[in-house]
Symmetry: C3
Subunit: 354 residues, 3 copies
Amino acid sequence: MISHETITGILKNYDKENITIGTIGSHSALQILKGARDEGFKTLAICKNNRKFVYERFHSADEIIGVSDYREILDDDFQNKLINKNLILVPHGSLVEYVGAKNIEEKFRVPLSGNRATLEWESDRNKEKKWFKEAGIKMPKEFKSPEEIDRLVIVKFPGARGGRGYFLVDHKVGFFKKIRSRGMEDEDYTIQEYITGTRFYPHYFYSPITGEVELMSMDIRYESNVDGLARTPHWAFKHYAPEPSYTVTGNFPVVIRESLLHKVLEMGDNVVFASKKLFPPGMTGPFCIEAICTDDLKFIAFEVSARIVAGTNLYIEGSPYSQILYNEPMSTGRRIAREIKIAIEKDMLNDVIY
Amino acid sequence: MISHETITGILKNYDKENITIGTIGSHSALQILKGARDEGFKTLAICKNNRKFVYERFHSADEIIGVSDYREILDDDFQNKLINKNLILVPHGSLVEYVGAKNIEEKFRVPLSGNRATLEWESDRNKEKKWFKEAGIKMPKEFKSPEEIDRLVIVKFPGARGGRGYFLVDHKVGFFKKIRSRGMEDEDYTIQEYITGTRFYPHYFYSPITGEVELMSMDIRYESNVDGLARTPHWAFKHYAPEPSYTVTGNFPVVIRESLLHKVLEMGDNVVFASKKLFPPGMTGPFCIEAICTDDLKFIAFEVSARIVAGTNLYIEGSPYSQILYNEPMSTGRRIAREIKIAIEKDMLNDVIY
Amino acid sequence: MISHETITGILKNYDKENITIGTIGSHSALQILKGARDEGFKTLAICKNNRKFVYERFHSADEIIGVSDYREILDDDFQNKLINKNLILVPHGSLVEYVGAKNIEEKFRVPLSGNRATLEWESDRNKEKKWFKEAGIKMPKEFKSPEEIDRLVIVKFPGARGGRGYFLVDHKVGFFKKIRSRGMEDEDYTIQEYITGTRFYPHYFYSPITGEVELMSMDIRYESNVDGLARTPHWAFKHYAPEPSYTVTGNFPVVIRESLLHKVLEMGDNVVFASKKLFPPGMTGPFCIEAICTDDLKFIAFEVSARIVAGTNLYIEGSPYSQILYNEPMSTGRRIAREIKIAIEKDMLNDVIY
């Protein structure tokens, strides 16, 4: 992994009065770029050529660079160009998906907001499990092999692919049939007990400058086709029986019962605390814990996203939670830029950029 | 249809410093009136007598006129009264429903915001299909006759009646039974393949002044009883088997996965482009494309509403999308008034009023 | 019940320039405290010791007092301490749940915002039914005994316990089995016809100063596990058949079809009017009517909450409705504080504090 020393060396030469905040044109880029501009930074979007028009239409960035493949950002020349712009790149799920966690960690020496090591910990399923265990957060029962399936389970595939390919099954025979029909036999998978309850995706922000975990907002995902199937009457499945699929297509706003907030905050605190132990100095900046709340009001967590999540796109002008914390519109994207601004002022950039 | 020349003739005599923006008291009137007031216009609501109190309670308009039947607005005296107030009427779904597209187009010579011809194109099912085809937008398979039903279909009735009477069926026998039990045998109907996925109703605004299509916001509809049935357990349908019905009763806010935005924008652009070809100068102002996103991330569109839709009522202070486009609260209702304001300043009123 | 005279006597000695608004740290306290601060009041949160950190984390109150049991607030010394702070306590569902309606009415002589008698009328099922009847609001059919169950019904238990224990059943045999398995045989219960439709929880505010009922916002509840079950495919219930449960875990924002607003306003007006007749001077301040909208657009009401409801937590910066009524961010929590502020200015505190 590119060492913190390498990055601090590059940052040392940055013109701190002329930082540009940039990101890849997808996922939560509109929010990140608006937030950066609201905090007074110059902004840059790196877009697939055929998606540039989206960011132009929203007047999103001071500069928009087109690429034909996102991996072009790994080219030495490209990286130097970014560094010459005093660029800090904000990573998000699409960056990880299109460029790869390993490539970013090892080949991309442009300064990133947040701890570079986090990408590895969140994208490696075993590390993620170790992390949750260290944090004392309950996860669904996992089945090591399809042979062990003895209840309703959900089969998931790794990576930030937006739920593509996930399926439900309640017996090993169905498992093999379904995984073949999806052409996923050679993929890694995780077999998790299917938990029924209400989903909550709380969006946190951990600031190493203040030492505090802030609850910024929360959302739930809007998934195709499962959220459409839910509205289809039972009798209709006599001749028409599509399997539920879990492709993320959007997000809904939600607030949680206030008497559950302490559990939500404790989960966030524990995940940060565990990260400091597992990969010091640990996770910094935005993160999300994907969780289910059962009807006895317990939380079971499925996943941690140790970077901004797309559900924050709902809250461009702030959420019910951030509106209590801040006396101004504060999205997670803007909070990232604010952190960089404060770090520059306090000469603590090395604590938030990796 | 009342010609553009007639309207421009009437507009010529309007006192441009004293324009009143008015609408019918229903559908999205609260939003339209607030938006008009925020842009500095005088406001007028025309309400059924027994609904006046709603608009009074919200202090919605400078003047509220009561009528016992909305078709009273077609009376010559009534029209003259409106014209003497320098009134521009903002059409919406309830206007079309209660007064009739044909009546408005042919008998109502009060200036309307947006192209008058659009009402006909959106309320005639065959024209709408031609429009989508021209725009290259995929629609669900349609069955010409009940005899052809070979899968799960939804049967719809024309007009902006808020989904009333729609039903699902998977065989011609059920079709005839259900249409009779609803007393709808003599109605026009459309038989569409039932598509499962996530619904998105993006709200666009096309400005002929800037030449740009803006994505203002999006929603999904909250329908009775189908959204209640979805929460009823399967076993309960043993003795209790109500058919799903699709009466629109409200709206939920939603954002779409950012990597799908280019498709949403392209659909909007294509619909505008096609309208210019089919009924020049084409559609202007707010419109909505009702679409489903399948789990392979393709959009299938059901309907175009070529006027403000009620889902915009969620965004009185702006949506995550309009908040990026504008540095101030910008609802679709306010955007309509803003367009009129800009048109007055630029002496382009004849481009946005028909 | 502590008489209005007792309270007005205590209020007389309050320093009106130094009122503190306080509440119990749960339910809607974050909103109430922010609203009070926005209106210029000092703020106090009374929290369970292990929940203090939540309110500290959100920088919610000028003072946070820890207790080990909420009933400590009934202690004479504690009450005197609050009175010496010129405290007005805002009651909410958790106050009623943890301290008890009867205890508050009879033993807690700290001034409350809103009519103290209301707590009894909303928490006693029979009084609530009388209230709705007086207001002319339709309720679901009720079954006096399990023997009478002849359709799908929902069985509910009294009190503000967030839906815990509620179940569906369609026959008396199932009723006895289910109530036993929940250990609820000795509890009071209500057997209500199960109504299918869309839920709406409109949030009202009645001001005795202006004499007007304001529609502030509306929400729907997010309940575990029923909202999770809705997304589970039918075939999965072959071996896995959990009963739906209705524990409230959060809230979603919603707007209602504008042509239904007159019915929503009329319900609110009628409930206030009836309260004046049943327990003069009647209900004041925030309240909510939990209702279902059927597919023929009729409302059937389940419950009235005659105090702030947690669904208002969505609207810290105002809702689409309050944004029309006010030219500033106006949550229900802030509206409560605004009412106290206006009452102080107009010397009408005795009309809003009981």
